[in-house]
């Protein structure tokens, strides 16, 4: 074991999978010669050459569509979207094409590809460079969505995503990039399965189900709630949004009796609403108190530090919501 950054973990997963499987190639803006805006793909052009690390013009529809075409004939493209907000530029290719291809061809074609990139607020990038998009994608069957929070999960899930025969959206959060965590030594192969949650903190009073950067915020909130109020929160890291591992959530709520779903994308019509609806439909008897969700208010993300902090549903909002649920 060693400590690495989240960025390093992703870079290693890309490199190891490209060495293992020559069908894997990278395509996107500034990923080769420059090494990626956030340096996630650094040194890969040097090792794999410009046939497999392809710098594109700023043409998201075009290169997303080309990656889909290459995947339809058996390659395994990994597309970087520089900011996840840009998925809207090529939404037809992602949703009407990649996500529906297997179904509308009666299983004759499939699209084994990964779309990856960073999302989220906290760095004052404003309304068009800070969105969290997981809830939008959850409305589209045919594409899987994963959103890890630790370097270990990031590397293991990215390898699983690359090996998956379906399109997988791999969400990184810009606030996670320089966080550090344990990682097995380079060359020690492991994977993390898509669709399997992980309990990151055990507790008995209330379950928080979350993923991506709000997982770290929930863990900090849990420590402070313990220290300040003696409240013992269990934190479930969903890790995947599609498919959702509700079984792990139910196992946890069977112990705590309370559920709070947290994510950075907006609460309204979001994946938290789905999680809460699911427990009421499938396992209402586990609840001792009403389940709740916490997400962003329905507003675009502003640039000003104070305004952005006001809107992001981070540690203080999580603490306040937990306290109100335990009153």
């Amino acid at each position: 074991m060693r400590k690495t950054t989240f960025i390093q973990a992703i870079n290693e997963a890309l490199r190891e999978e490209m060495r293992r499987d020559e069908r894997v190639f990278l395509i996107g803006e500034d990923i080769g010669y420059y090494g990626g805006l956030f340096r996630v793909t650094r040194n890969l052009l040097e090792e794999f050459g410009d046939r497999r690390v392809i710098d594109t013009p700023i043409s998201e529809q075009g290169f997303m569509g080309m990656a889909i075409g290459a995947a339809m004939v058996g390659l395994r493209p990994i597309v970087e979207l520089m900011y996840m907000d840009f998925y809207l530029v090529c939404a037809d290719q992602i949703f009407n094409q990649a996500a529906k291809m297997h179904y509308m061809t009666g299983g004759l074609l499939h699209v084994p590809m990964v779309i990856r990139g960073q999302q989220g607020g906290g760095k004052r990038y404003g309304s068009q460079h800070s969105s969290c998009v997981e809830s939008n994608f959850a409305q589209f069957p045919g594409i899987k969505v994963v959103a890890p929070a630790t370097p270990y999960d990031a590397k293991g899930l990215l390898i699983s995503a690359i090996r998956d025969d379906n399109p997988v959206l791999f969400l990184e959060h810009k606030m996670l990039y320089f966080t550090r965590g344990d990682l097995p030594d380079e060359g020690v192969e492991y994977t993390v399965p898509i669709g399997k949650a992980d309990i990151k903190r055990e507790g008995k009073d209330l379950t928080i189900a979350t993923f991506s950067y709000t997982l770290l915020q929930a863990l900090e909130a849990a420590e402070e709630l313990k220290a300040e109020y003696g409240i013992d929160v269990e934190v479930v890291d969903l890790r995947s949004v599609t498919p959702l591992d509700m079984e792990t959530v139910y196992t946890s709520v069977a112990k705590t009796g309370r559920l709070l779903a947290v994510h950075e994308s907006q609460a309204n019509a979001g994946i938290g609403a789905e999680i809460v609806a699911r427990i009421y439909e499938e396992a209402p008897d586990l609840l001792k108190a009403p389940a709740r969700r916490l997400g962003m208010a329905p507003a675009p993300i502003p640039v000003s530090k104070v305004l952005e902090e006001e809107l992001l549903p981070w540690k203080n909002d999580i603490k306040a919501t937990v306290l109100s649920m335990l009153k």
Binding site: T56, S59, Q61, M66, Q97, L108
Partner: protein, 340 residues
């Protein structure tokens, strides 16, 4: 409502490609005649089925477009990749799709190639190199370029061709793809079936330029305008473009001038053109022209009659088969969402 310039226009062979005669032998042309007539009869039968209410949704026939598909199929290898627009029955039939499975698919029946899930707009069969017709205008064009990119990454000489209409020329993704395909010298052929209507609107009402093949010249791409209703000219142009692609010389854009003799889709009221315009275009339509060409080369009318009679029988058999075919098992509604 009809544009005077359109009424006056006839398919013309302006650029690059040689005279239409004697590119192919009579022996080569006879099976192409058969296929063009088969496409025509399948499409006409589908329109009848649509009129009788047996086909729902949007169905776009290629009556008048047959030469593009049949010329292409003769010019390319079976393993070459093809993507096309939702007006794509003809490409699939020309590449060898069984009319029974095709008609079943349009009717949503179980023996359809996609088990009735794709229908008229999503013709596909990877074993014939058919990598998908598409319901979104222009969306299939980057897919073909991506398949060409895959060939380049793998070092194979398999090429890709993509068919689209004149209306697709104004989708942004087309121009993104043209630029990348030319920049990376991808082995792909862009074939524009210019039937001069983008859906129900004459292209002359929406295009800022009159000659679509000139667009890609801005990207430095080889391009030509051909008489897309002459199957030999299509064959010749696609053959040359394929040779360029396999030689690593990059993409070619072919604008094949054609004319859609039926409506944009089944049920189209066709208020945008006159019966006289359609009648005038019948003189230039591909099947009639190939028929005349074969007679001129000394083929007996009886031989062509015999071919047509065989096709009539085959198509009727396919229609009867499809009408009798079972519906898909309802469990199929839930399968193929993810590949497992």
């Amino acid at each position: 409502m009809t544009e005077p310039s359109l009424k006056a226009s006839v398919p013309s062979a302006k650029a690059a490609v040689a005279e239409p005669t004697a590119v192919l032998s009579t022996e080569q042309l006879l099976p192409m005649y058969r296929m063009m007539f088969l496409i025509r009869r399948v499409e006409e039968s589908l329109l009848e089925l649509a009129e009788s209410g047996k086909i729902g949704g949007a169905m776009h026939t290629a009556i008048g477009h047959e030469a593009a598909a049949v010329g292409m199929a003769a010019a390319l290898r079976k393993e070459d990749y093809l993507t096309c627009t939702y007006r794509g029955h003809h490409h699939s039939l020309a590449r060898g799709m069984d009319p029974k499975r095709a008609i079943c698919e349009v009717l949503g029946k179980a023996p359809g190639f996609a088990k009735g899930k794709g229908g008229s707009m999503h013709f596909v069969d990877p074993s014939l190199g058919l990598m998908g017709a598409n319901g979104i205008v222009g969306a299939q064009v980057p897919h073909a370029a991506g398949m060409a990119l895959a060939s380049k990454i793998r070092g194979e000489d398999r090429i890709a061709i993509t068919f689209f209409g004149d209306g697709a020329m104004f989708q942004g993704v087309m121009h993104e793809t043209f630029n990348m395909a030319q920049k990376w010298k991808l082995p792909v052929i862009f074939y524009c079936e210019n039937n001069r209507y983008s859906e129900m609107t004459p292209i002359s009402r929406t295009s800022s330029v009159s000659e679509l093949y000139l667009f890609v010249r801005a990207y430095g791409m080889e391009s030509m305008q051909i008489d897309g209703n002459d199957v030999e000219i299509v064959y010749d142009a696609v053959s040359k473009a394929a040779a360029r692609a396999r030689a690593g010389e990059g993409p070619t854009f072919i604008e094949g001038i054609t004319y859609r003799l039926a409506g944009h889709m089944a049920g189209d009221l066709e208020t945008y053109r006159t019966p006289e315009e359609i009648e005038m275009q019948r003189a230039y339509e591909p099947l009639a022209r190939l028929h005349q060409k074969l007679l001129d080369r000394g083929v007996a009318e009886e031989e062509l009659n015999k071919i047509r009679a065989e096709v009539e029988e085959e198509v009727q058999e396919a229609v009867d088969y499809a009408l009798e075919a079972p519906w898909p098992d309802i469990a199929e509604a839930y399968t193929d969402v993810y590949k497992v």
